[in-house]
């Protein structure tokens, strides 16, 4: 096992499938990066590494990691490793600002990486405002990264934010069946919002999306 900065148990379990999938040159880049305290402590160099990481990982970069429940690729996993390594060198009070900066300045694919792995960061509840704010995106890919196959919303969103996520998924055609934990988070307010949306669509002479019934069925169980 390589000796790298991050020691958290989350990361240790991620590292072996990650390294075993990489070519020797990609392994060596990642190992150097994760052991470079100066890089991990510099906001500019951290952001640069976060951005350039897919090219450094080579051809396997966007392959799905086998066995992961989330649709995670090696890029997402390696970015998570990078973030965990950087956070370990920081006081806990700076963690939110660091992750928010990576999200705010990230292009679409980078934002997806942040969102997909948010639940695996230390004390993840702190990142709830970032995740709720991410739902305001106009990008379907970014929205899907938080809304689909991601345990974070069901675990941490307040009711209003969670209900808005479900409604927005229906509005933009992101499947509600893939909202992790939805059956356990349905509530009477969500039911009202869904019913009023169906009524609004009928009044406009428009079809009611199938996912309204899917979500309502969960509300009625």
């Amino acid at each position: 096992m390589v000796s790298i900065v991050p020691t958290s148990s989350v990361l240790q379990t991620l590292l072996s499938p990650l390294f075993s999938a990489l070519t020797p040159s990609a392994q060596s880049w990642l190992e150097l990066t994760l052991t470079d305290r100066a890089l991990l402590s510099s906001r500019q160099r951290l952001r640069t590494a976060f951005t350039q990481l897919p090219r450094k990982l080579g051809s396997v970069a966007e392959n799905r990691v086998p066995g992961e429940p989330m649709p995670c690729t090696y890029v997402d996993l390696a970015r998570l490793a990078l973030v965990l390594a950087a956070l370990e060198l920081q006081p806990s009070s700076e963690h939110v600002a660091t992750v928010e900066e990576l999200y705010r300045t990230g292009e679409q694919r980078e934002q997806e990486s942040v969102l997909r792995t948010l639940a695996l960061l230390p004390e993840p509840a702190r990142f709830t405002p970032l995740a709720v704010g991410a739902c305001r995106t106009n990008s379907v890919a970014v929205f899907s990264a938080i809304a689909n196959d991601n345990p974070f919303p069901a675990q941490h969103f307040p009711e209003l934010g969670f209900n808005q996520l479900v409604l927005k998924a229906i509005f933009i055609g992101v499947p509600v069946a893939r909202i992790t934990g939805l059956p356990n988070r349905v509530n009477s307010e969500l039911r009202r919002m869904l019913e009023e949306y169906a009524s609004e669509r009928r009044a406009a002479g428009r079809a009611v999306p199938d996912d309204v019934s899917v979500a309502l069925a969960l509300c009625e169980r």
Binding site: R104, G133, R136, T137, N138, S139, L160, G161, Q164, L167, K168, F171, M193, E196, Y197, S199, E200, A203, A204, G205
Partner: protein
């Protein structure tokens, strides 16, 4: 007939759009300050945006014979970033005083969060202080509840309903908005919100008083000619010329004239020889000059 599009985001549109709008009879527009499709992260980005609404965009419109007015405000989507929102609130008193600013807007609810409500209330108070009407956005999701809550809030704050334009209505919200005494806007969109055919039915059912029609065209799939297209469909459906003119000219003029800053006196003459800070809309074409 001159037409007025009281809600259109020209910053995101092309000169081809301006040409087509002018050819279709659009003589005046209001561009509400809104978001740009992704969140801004610095207050300075807002200040530059406000300045472009007052400067370059007004000039661009004038080059095609269209009078451009704007509204200034912090939109609800970006109101959820509290630090940014407080910075924008510091800017607004300055920009609300500028010439050609005819309302505070667009403001309102999106997700109906506490932050959105705080900024909505603060901006309604700004409208009162600066003696301006308000242009209010209603949410896409949970629209009916959001619209009713907006009307309740205006009532609780004792804001004069005749100074409030509540926008993006549909069949399920218009009655409550008209009953409240506010003006009711309708955004005619290719897919969502409202379409031309439904709008004709709404006019047949609710008449023309305090009803406005706009394109709300922006950077998404939308159509800057929706006001003339809706007017044409009303005509084909035997709605009178007087009613069409009421909806598509007199109503928006009457609403925004309450700002005392809607100056339509001088019909603008196109002079494409003009420059804005040394910059022209032309790319080698012969300037068009109306005498």
């Amino acid at each position: 007939m001159r037409l007025f599009d009281p809600h259109i985001h020209m910053t995101s549109r092309t000169t081809d759009d301006y040409q087509a709008m002018a050819a279709a009879g659009i003589a005046a527009i209001v561009e509400p300050a809104f978001w740009l499709g992704q969140p801004r992260t610095h207050v300075g980005s807002f200040e530059d945006y406000f300045l472009s609404l007052l400067g370059w965009e007004r000039f661009r419109a004038s080059q095609f014979g269209i009078r451009h007015f704007c509204t200034m405000g912090l939109n609800p989507k970006e109101a959820n970033d509290s630090k940014l929102a407080d910075g924008v609130m510091e800017l607004l008193p300055i920009y609300l005083e500028k010439d050609g600013v005819v309302a505070v807007g667009e403001i309102g609810y999106d997700d109906m969060t506490p932050s959105e409500e705080r900024l909505l209330i603060a901006q309604i108070e700004l409208a009162r202080q600066h003696e301006l009407p308000v242009l209010i956005h209603t949410p896409h999701r949970d629209k009916k509840r959001g619209t009713l809550r907006t009307l309740d809030l205006l009532r609780d704050l004792a804001f004069p309903p005749e100074l409030a334009l509540v926008d993006h209505n549909n069949e399920e919200t218009i009655r409550a908005v008209l009953d409240s005494g506010c003006w009711a806007g309708h955004s005619i969109y290719p897919e969502t919100k409202m379409d031309e055919r439904r709008m004709v039915e709404i006019v047949k059912q609710h008449g023309t008083e305090r009803i406005l029609i706009n394109s709300a065209a922006d950077w998404g799939v939308s159509d800057p000619l929706k006001v003339p297209k809706t007017a044409a469909l009303m005509r084909a459906d035997n709605i009178s010329e007087a009613d069409i003119e009421q909806l598509c000219w007199h109503n928006p003029v009457a609403f925004f004239a309450q700002s005392q800053r809607l100056n339509l006196d001088e019909p603008s003459k196109v002079d494409q020889r003009a420059l804005f800070e040394g910059n022209s809309v032309l790319r080698g074409q012969t300037p068009r000059v109306e005498s």
